[in-house]
Symmetry: D2
């Protein structure tokens, strides 16, 4: 598996170039950044050279489309999606991620219908650029009732939904936090097929009942109680060999970037040594 | 438009042959019966001759699949579906209907996902036999809370759902009772496209608030307060020229079949004269 | 049916505004022009006012994507397609056309596969903007062998292909010239379903064997031997009520625009009077 | 990878029970037989016990549908397909194979369109039973001109076709003979994704120019010149861990079944030892 970083959990690490350089320095092989923004800064050739110089790949970029909103907003996003997909293809990036909030303010059934049509269209467009779409279910309990109508947050429901969408390039963005807050275990991973996993996030959770875990108070791998070794081992067993990106969404933003990177590196060293 | 009958509202009219004969006698050009059952009774040639003799067509048959149940039951239904579709094709029948209960005992989102996949598969199979699948939304208010989880009962949601299913041979079974209990009017029909309508039911409603109308206490066209002239005129405006079948679901089963047919004929004469 | 004009057969009629004005003056209700170009010239509001002032609609715009070429070119076209679809939606335009050359220089089977995937993606994108994609089969015999590999030119093959593409917003752009060069007659039209026709072109052919008719030497409605009355009557019978655009592709470009418009108006008057 | 046998190349090995018993005796873990026929002979429970007793799985069954023929024949096949799929599901079989002849007597483009629609429908039906459809391209040169119209025989065209079909449960049946007669090498396999391979056949070829190799004169693994070690190693590299079934289609039917099994076992031992 490939060690990856998102910007969540690395503090104020600077611009994309700084991020890539420091990620490399601490032994990471992938960063989750916006390929279009990179190209806008450094050009296609400049971006390729930058990535090559640091033996870095871009793991996954966030879908640049507001697929939950009104029609006009969604349509504007489509234009950005194509630009972004073209940029991704230019840099060899083949994963795009979208998270699914477990509740929202739109009636659940019509929202599912709308979301299905929109995500299918996004997937078809991404497919033209050989990019997979990774859907991330979000387990955090407080978010399930944060908005008026509960939506999808379970692994099994997400898999059925992906199957219903029907585009062959859609799969899971599997985050250890949501695996944990769903109360799942390694046997739930072992049952998956390798091609159902598009991208992986890791981060850890406080030693609290899963009902009390806040989505924006995650902690560093190894600092909490999630069985990350079991999580990654199971993914390995089913054949996942792609990027595993740390994503520590947290309100604690005071620490120094290099200190955090060092801490992250140690955590990855520890976990990866056991799988 | 073509005058049609279902067995609901014609009393104990006898076997399929009697039904066809009497329907013809009272000026109807279509009956909604099971083509497979007809063929099992009279053979393919016999059935064709029977229909030809009475200038009768079969309008629409009910989907012979329990698509709401467990996996094993659904799979068994698929076998019947193919048999039935083959029989329909043998008799030139090209519409199959399925009604959607407005609530049920399965969690709404997973149920929508499951139902979508199953109805899509049924539609694909029917498509091979050049048969359209007509989905009937059910507006009756008491049924919306009859079971644990509310499901789809609105026209607009049904149309979005049909679009999401994505098979080009799926459309509406549009019933005047559900149009009425949804509180819709003729302008809601005018906005539809002709190819969104696969089949049409008519029947009438008591002069009660729509919230109090029972699904199984419908009355004969003309006996109630539904604007059936407006209903059919609007369908005509958008180009619908297919079968309009009476379906009077009612607990009142005591009347004589011929009396009911006469009553139905008069009601059709009255309504059709005005459109 | 709605009287429409393309720029083929109206000489040097000036800019889009001139075209709209003169089309209106001669009794036409639709022009086939590029909505994006119109908006770039006059803005969204200005374009709407222009169309409103002359009671003009835009019938159909040409697909702004080179879907037959290499991958990079196709991808660039997608960006334009979204821009153009957004412009079309802003002006209420809901038809986009693509013609299919009856031969080309790519091996037929891989080309069909590639074209299917690309046109399906274009259709899905257009669908988001409520735009239909009209595929035009091209019957002209000399073009069937113009390039190395024969491709699709028959009505029935095109219909099967459209069905295979599987997007519900794809249909025919039905041109009288290709109907004629395919040796078809009115009974071939009567068999079609109304929803299979997205857009219609008319123009006429010299009194020559169909094998000798050149694609770029068409003549004005009424000047040739195509049974345009039968053509349009049959389309009316199956319920087509949309735009019928004249498209006289011809090497003869010398005549005055107004003379040509007058001629066209007379021809339309003559033909439309008989249907 | 799992050692498998088809009935091609094992002589007159007896009924399905004999086949299973002897396959087990010679160290094979899978047989490619018809699950419906097995159940018709031994019942569901009996079949399960039989397979369990010999630690045998069924690898892949042939599609019981004539998808190349006329409409009536195809429709009859659908009924069998569902029966067969249900039987397969009862025995845990999840692969169904169909070979694609490299030429036939139907015009290529309409045939591709028809075949796409039919195989997609078959795939959708199989998908309901969690069964994958494996399409086998056939490279044998003499078959490319055996019938009037050349069709698909290349790996890359087949992959594009599978992508166009658009059902996520369709992939390759990859046969070493067709890999060889296509003039491909290991690098062509390395480029594939694991989820593109559904099933694998091995057999060997005479030391002749690939143009002269006959489809029905294949030889036993190890007896010819195909680089089977490279073939299987490459499949292993991309993660294929499924069944590899021998299929020696040959006119030589005289040898004793057990002698052939022994020969096959030795060949598998030799090849598998090197991968």
């Amino acid at each position: 598996m490939i060690r990856g970083l998102t910007r969540a959990g690395v503090g104020d690490i600077g611009n994309d170039k700084d991020f890539i350089e420091k990620a490399s320095q601490y032994g990471f092989q992938a960063v989750d950044i916006d390929p279009l923004r990179l190209i806008k800064q450094y050009g296609i050739e400049g971006s390729r050279e930058l990535l090559l110089k640091y033996h870095m790949q871009i793991g996954c970029f966030g879908i640049p489309v507001d697929w939950q909103s009104d029609e006009a907003t969604f349509r504007q996003g489509l234009q950005r999606l194509i630009e972004c997909a073209a940029a991704a293809a230019d840099l060899g990036v083949n994963k795009c991620g979208a998270y699914i909030l477990p509740s929202n303010d739109q009636r659940a059934l019509p929202f599912l219908i709308k979301a299905t049509k929109r995500l299918r269209l996004c997937a078809e467009i991404l497919g033209e650029y050989n990019i997979q779409l990774a859907l991330e279910f979000v387990g955090s309990h407080h978010l399930r009732t944060q908005w008026k109508y509960p939506f999808i947050w379970r692994l099994d429901d997400t898999l059925e939904w992906i199957d219903m969408i029907g585009s062959s390039n859609v799969g899971l963005l599997f985050d250890s936090y949501h695996w944990h807050t769903n109360g799942l275990n390694v046997s739930d991973i072992i049952k998956l097929r390798r091609d159902q996993i598009v991208h992986v996030h890791i981060n850890d959770a406080y030693d609290l009942p899963i009902e009390d875990l806040l989505d924006h108070e995650r902690i560093y791998p190894g600092d909490g109680i999630i069985d990350l070794v079991g999580f990654l081992q199971s993914l390995k067993v089913i054949g996942y060999e792609g990027v595993v990106s740390q994503e520590v969404i947290s309100s604690n933003k005071n620490q120094d970037a290099l200190t955090l990177l060092k801490k992250t590196k140690d955590a990855f060293d520890y976990v990866f040594a056991q799988i």
